[in-house]
Structure formats: C-alpha cells, structure tokens
Amino acid sequence: MNSIDSHLPFLIMSALTLGSALVVVRVRNIVHAGFWLLPCFLGVAGLYALLQAHFFVVVQVLIYVGAILVLMLFALMLTQDVMNPNKPQTNRMSLPIGVFCIVFAAGVAAILTGHQWVNSNAVILPANVQTRQLGQALIGEYALPFEIASVLLLAALVGAIVLAKSEKEPAPLPLPTLAALPDSKPE
C-alpha cells in the first residue's frame, strides 16, 4: 500500500473539513451554517487533491461550491427569518443522538482501520491520462450510468419545478379530499 508522505497538509485539510462540518451541524444561525459549508467542501476538495484525484478537486469546487452551495445559500437567505435563531436549533434528542453518533463513528472507524485491505498493486496514472480515461469511460463502458444520471437530473428538475412553481390561478374550490382533512395549525 503506497502511503502519502505529506502529513501536515492531510492534518490541516481533515481538521478544516471536520471542524467546519461540526460548526455546520451545531451553529445556531442557519446562514452561518450555510457559509461554514464552504470551508468544509473546500477541505474535502483538498483531501481529493492529496489523493491525486485532480479532476474531482475541480468537480468538487465547481459543483458543490459553485452550484449546490449557492442554491442552498439562496434558500437559506430567503427563509432565514422563518426560524427564530434565539431558540435552540436542534431537537430534544440531540444529546443521545450525539452519543450514538460518536460511538457509531468510533465503531465504524475501528472496523475499517482493522480490516486488511487488499491492494491491486496498480500504479496511479498521471492526471491527464486519468481524466482522458474517465472521459472515455463515460462515453464507452459507463455510457449507460452517465445517461441515467442525466435522466435522474432531468427528473429531479421536472420534479423541483412542479413542486416549487406557485400556482397562478386563484385556488379553486377545495376538493372534497381537502375539505375533509382537519386543518390543524402547527404550534
């Protein structure tokens, strides 16, 4: 197993990733949580760089940081006044779940580090070959998953539009099914 010698970058990147991830899940202000996702994703991109997955560094930054995160931030800013930031942002079970997650993480890490991984002894290819291979795979051997992923995106977009589009015409008379439902208000 060929190890990576650069210890310090790894420690920095993992600390950045995990630290900001913790902030994301714990911070009260939801917009801050959204912004803290940025260093987290960048940390993951850094780890990818250490793994010499150069193409995915770019993808991570472009798609996660550039697209998904921006989408999230828009949503967060639009809805930030919905949640009162002075109230706790986590539910009642946060302590037991925290303990559970720590124990579980320790267990998973223990099992994974204890496993004898089988190495195929292949050498890592230079970045340009890697990317060319990936490109060829996506139109060759893995054309089908690629196409299906695009169908998935299409379906997701259609779905998102259907759900998000506000209906222009005034609400018609309620359907019988609507009328029958108890109209309870959230407390």
Binding site: N91, M93, I97, F100, F104, G107, I111
Partner: protein, 655 residues
C-alpha cells in the same frame, strides 16, 4: 376423467347461477331450483354411478408438492356425500318457505350452495391440502351464513366469533398439515400414512421435532382443527352463538355437516392417530368433557335453538368418544384401519345428521310460526303448539326420541354402537371405562332435556298470544320434516340390521353384531328415566296451573308425592343442576372465552398500541431508526461472529 369430479363442482355451478341471479336482483325466486337440482345431481352421481377416483393438478410447489383437486369416492366419502347432499337438498327445499320473505333470497341460496360444494370437496379430498382449503371454505360459508342477517349486531358478532374461534383450532390444523406434509414430502393421504408408519419404525427422520414427539404432536395438531370445527371443549363456545344465523343454516351447517367435519377428518386420518395411545386418550377425554359439559348446560337453556346447539355439541362429544375408543380392528381401509369405535362414530354421525337436522328444522318451523313475537326462540313463550302445528309436533317428537336414544329410534342403534366400542376399549384403555359411565349419564341427561324441549314447546296450553295464533308451516317446509322424521325413526335400525353400515364402510360382509343385552338395557333404562323425569317435571307442572282435582285421588296423591320429589329436586337436585349448569356456563363465558379469545387479542392489541407509539410523526426519529437499525445489524453480526466463531453454520440453519 370420470364424471364423479362433478360431485363438488355441480353445486358450485349452482352457486354461480344463484350468485348471478342475486346480483341482477331479477328472478330471484328461481335460484333455489338450480341449487337444489345441482345438489341432488351430486347425490345422484354418488348413488348411482361408479365409485372411483378423479384428479387434476392445480399447482406444483417445488419439486414434490403437488396440489391437486381430487375426488376420491370411497365408502367413507360415499357415506358423507349421501348425508351432505340429502340434508342440503332438504334444507334448501325447506328454506324456500322459511326464507320466502327475506332480503337476499338468491344470495342465501348461493351461500348454501357454495357451502355444499366446499363440504363435498372436503369429504372427497384425497390430500391434506384440498382438505385444508375446503376446511377453510366451509368456515367462510359458515361465517357468511351466520352473519346473513348482518344488520343485527348480535349476528355480526356471532359470525366473527365463530370465524375467529375456529381459526384458533385451524392454526393447529395448519401446523399439523405443514408438519406432516413436510415429513412426507407430499400432501397425499396414503403417502402421509406411509411416512407416519416409517417414522414409527424409526426409518425416517422428522423435521423440527424428534420422531417420538412427532408421533403424538402431528396428530394432536390435526385434532386441534377438529376441536375447533366440531366445537369440542374448550373451543365449543362459538357454536351456541352461531344460532344467530337462519335456522335452516343451523340445521345444515351447525348440526348435520360442517361440525361433523372434524369427526370425518379424524376418521379419515385415523391411521395417524393410532400410533400412540396418548393421542386416542386425548380424543376420548376431550369427547367426554364436551359431552357432559354441554349436556348439563342444555338442561338450563330456554332458547329452543340453544338447547339444540348444546345438544349438538354433546352429541359431537359422543362421536369423539367413539373415535377415541380404540376398539377391535375390524377391517383394513385405504388409509389405515377401521375400528368398531370409528364405525360407531360414523354411524352416529349419520343418524345424528338426520335427527338433529330434523330437530332444527322443526324448531325453525316453530320460530317461523312465531316470528312476529319479540323473542320467537324462547320456549317459555310457547306451549300448546301440538294442536296448531301437528306435523311439526309429531316429527319433532320422532326427532326427540331419536335424540334420546329410545329403542327402536335411530339414535338408539348408533349410541349403543358407541357404548359397545367404549366397553371393548376399556380393556385396553382404563379411561374408556370412565368415559362409558359418563356417556351413560349423559344419555339420561339428553333424554331429559330433549323431552323437556318438546313438552315446553308443544305440550299444554299456549303461554303467549303468538303461540295461540300459530299456524302450521307450508308444505315446502313440512315435507322435509316428514322425510327426515321417517329417516330418524327407521334409518338407524335399517343400517344396523344386516350390519349394513359397517359392511358398507369396510367393504366386508359380516353378520350383525348382536346387541349386548346389559348395555342396551342400561342405556334404555337411563333414557327412559330421563324421559320420565322430563315428563313428570314439565308435563305435570303445566297441568298444575289447571286444577287437577278431576284426577282420581290415588293418582293425585301419587302426584303430590312426586311433587314432593319435585320440590326436593327443585330445592336440592335441580338447584344443584341449575347452579352447576350456571357455573359451567359462567366458567365457559368468563374463563374459557376470555382465555381462548380474550388474552391473545388483548396482548396483540396492547402490543400494537405500544409499537404504534414509536410512529411519532417525527421525521428525524424515523431517520435515526434507519441508522440505529444498521448499527443493530452490525452489532448482531459482530456478536454472532465473535462469540460463535465458525458455528454460524450450525446455529443459524435449523433443519
């Protein structure tokens, strides 16, 4: 394929036609024509065409399990087919009058016809699977017919109760079917009988349990089904409630045929029961308890149908006594052996089907006449119907005497056969001696309550206005009564002389077994005593209302003395009997009922409510469950592999 496959199929066709008529709601009145004709056709095939075997494969599971629709018309099936088609046809004829003004006229006949088809399928089965399917089907028909007047809450509840309670037995039955068929690798009766034999010889391994356990467990599981279906203690509780259904249905399903299915099944599979004495002894003990318990309850009932229902349970207990009596083996049969006890049980099944159907139909005739009354079933509101409904009264008397087992009525011969079998068996099984004594006591009780029923209904003066204005039923109802009355009187003797019944069942040609004079004498005396007591208590008490001073003084004094006796019985005897009956009824209602149907229901209900609480509506709780489940699976596997290293192969797969 031989034409006999039409035996179960013909009534099914009749049912489909009636069902179609019911859906169109036009020409409902002609529905019974089809159902009766098809039922009679089934009987005709059985009577006049060749015996034989027809089979068609329906489904094959795995490599060896073949599920087939078989019609195996042997002597035993022939007997049952005759009983079922005859009673069914007569009941349907009777129903034309009885149900004339009811809603769902054609639907009723469709149900009855489906029932007939399922029952015929049950008795002509040659494999456990078909037996089980038809077993469930007759249960459903029973459910539908008990709840026929669904708008009455009591009927709806009774239907549900009947279905659920019999299911308890059916679970055991299903497990028995699975156990036996998985051991045999087949559902066929013969294959299962051979397997059982091989297991008893130690030549074959059994699934799940050891061979020794298997030999008693498998037949007892099957017997569970019989306990449920034939309303044996402690699952008998559904049958009295089932009287909520139309009375002809009670006559057909809950007296003559379906409730006898348990007896038939044990007879058919008797080879399986004969390996271990504890099995037959269980059958014997259950039969004994049932016979006594229900007879004692019947004494205190006032509802005419309830008396008959408890009487039916008691008589089914008699049949179980016959089955449990491991008497002399008289002949080998297709699937094993016939003993005197089995033959006697089947004999009693046949005669009982006639006179009990008759009794129910006469009760129905009375109820029909009183149907404007608030409680037409209550015997306290009857009396004096003898003059107003003579045919019903006389045929009912024939049925009563047959039930009482009075010489020479039908019941006498078959009851005596059971006593004979018990006496024979007592040499081998000590408990049979006790059973014989109990059976004789029950015979007295039976005579008592059956005559009591008749006297309260037909004797004396009318005790209500409705009874006063009662009229005889139309001919479609009285004709079946006359036919069944005739059979109730003569069928037993006819089948007894020349040993006709046993010879037909076993295919042998043996001379008539002479009656055991002591046994016949005792049973006759006991029956006479019961009748006499009923006569004294009921016929005379009614007269007491009228001045009886016109009687000769000596007889009067005698009566007074008897009255003294009566008071004594009332204060001490009857009070005890009533109290005992009441206690048994209370125990029945509050303990047996609760334990059998109450406790598991309660546990399930509470369990459901408890688990339901986890479904809190909180999305994130659900999400945690997903990961917790993953963690749980990992921990379980960790535990299994850590503490049971290499032994997972042994522990996880139980062959």
């Amino acid at each position: 394929m031989p034409i006999i496959w039409l035996i179960p199929v013909a009534p099914l066709i009749g049912a489909l036609i009636a069902g179609a008529l019911a859906l169109t709601r036009k020409a409902e009145k002609i529905a019974p024509l089809f159902t009766i004709a098809t039922t009679l056709y089934s009987g005709y095939i059985a009577l006049f065409l060749h015996r034989g075997y027809a089979s068609s494969t329906w489904l094959t599971i795995g490599s060896s399990y073949r599920i087939a629709l078989d019609v195996n018309l042997d002597a035993l099936t022939f007997t049952m087919v005759c009983v079922v088609t005859l009673v069914s046809a007569l009941v349907q004829l009777y129903s034309i009058g009885y149900m004339a003004n009811e809603n769902g006229y054609a639907r009723y006949f469709a149900y009855v016809s489906i029932f007939t088809a399922s029952m015929l399928g049950l008795v002509s089965a040659d494999n456990l699977f078909q037996l089980y399917v038809c077993w469930e089907l007759v249960g459903i028909c029973s459910y539908l017919l008990i709840g026929f007047w669904w708008f009455k809450p009591s009927a709806a509840n009774a239907a549900k109760k009947a279905f659920v309670v019999t299911r308890f037995g059916d679970v055991g039955f299903l497990l028995g079917v699975l156990l036996l068929s998985s051991a045999a690798g087949s559902f066929q009766f013969t294959a299962i009988a051979h397997t059982m034999h091989a297991i008893s010889m130690g030549e074959l391994l059994t699934p799940l349990v050891s061979a020794r356990t298997f030999l008693w467990l498998a037949p007892l599981l099957l017997f569970c089904g019989a306990v449920g279906k034939s309303a044996q203690f402690p699952l008998h509780i559904w049958l009295p409630d089932a009287m909520e259904g139309p009375t002809p249905v009670s006559a057909l399903i809950h007296a003559a045929t379906m409730v006898a299915a348990g007896v038939y099944m044990v007879t058919r599979l008797f080879t399986l029961f004969a390996f271990v004495p504890v099995v037959t002894e269980t059958v014997l003990v259950i039969g004994m308890i049932t016979a006594f318990l229900s007879a004692s309850i019947a004494i205190v009932q006032n509802d005419i149908k309830k008396v008959l229902a408890y009487s039916t349970i008691s008589q089914l207990g008699y049949m179980m006594l016959g089955l449990g009596a491991m008497g002399t083996v008289i002949a080998p049969s297709v699937s094993g052996v016939y003993t005197t006890g089995q033959t006697a049980a089947m004999f009693h099944l046949t005669t009982h089907a006639m006179f009990k159907a008759l009794l129910f139909l006469t009760a129905g005739s009375v109820i029909h006449a009183l149907h404007h009354s608030s409680d037409p079933n209550d015997m306290r509101g009857m009396g004096g119907l003898m003059k107003r409904m003579p045919i019903t009264a006389w045929t009912c008397l024939a049925g009563v005497l047959a039930l009482a087992g009075l010489f020479p009525f039908s019941g006498f011969w078959s009851k005596d056969a059971i006593f004979g079998a018990l006496r024979e068996a007592s040499a081998k099984e000590p408990v049979a001696m006790l059973a014989l004594v109990v059976a004789i006591i029950v015979a007295g009780m039976t005579a008592f309550y059956s005559l009591r029923l008749w006297l309260m209904t037909f004797w004396g003066e009318p005790r209500s206005e409705h009874a006063e204005h009662a009229h005889e039923s139309p001919w479609v109802m009285t004709l079946p009564l006359v036919i069944l009355g005739f059979l109730s009187v003569f069928l037993g003797g006819y089948l007894y002389f020349g040993n006709r019944f046993a010879n037909s069942l076993t295919g042998l040609n043996m001379p008539t077994e002479p009656l055991n004079p002591a046994l016949a004498g005792i049973s006759t005396l006991v029956a006479l005593f019961g009748l006499w007591l009923a006569w004294k208590l009921y016929a005379v008490r009614n007269l007491e209302k009228d001045p009886v001073t016109n009687l000769p003084s000596s007889i009067y004094a005698f009566l007074v003395n008897l009255w003294y006796m009566d008071a004594f019985w009332n204060r001490f005897g009857a009070a005890w009997v009533v109290a005992l009956g009441g206690m048994v009824a209370w125990f029945d209602r509050n303990v047996v009922d609760r334990i059998v149907s109450g406790l598991p229901a309660w546990v399930c209900q509470q369990g459901g409510l408890a688990i339901r609480k986890t479904e809190s509506g909180q999305t994130q709780t659900y999400a945690v469950t997903v990961l917790a489940a993953v963690a749980f699976i990992i921990v379980t596997l960790l535990w299994l592999t850590r503490y049971l290293p290499g032994s997972m192969h042994i522990t996880m797969i139980t062959h």
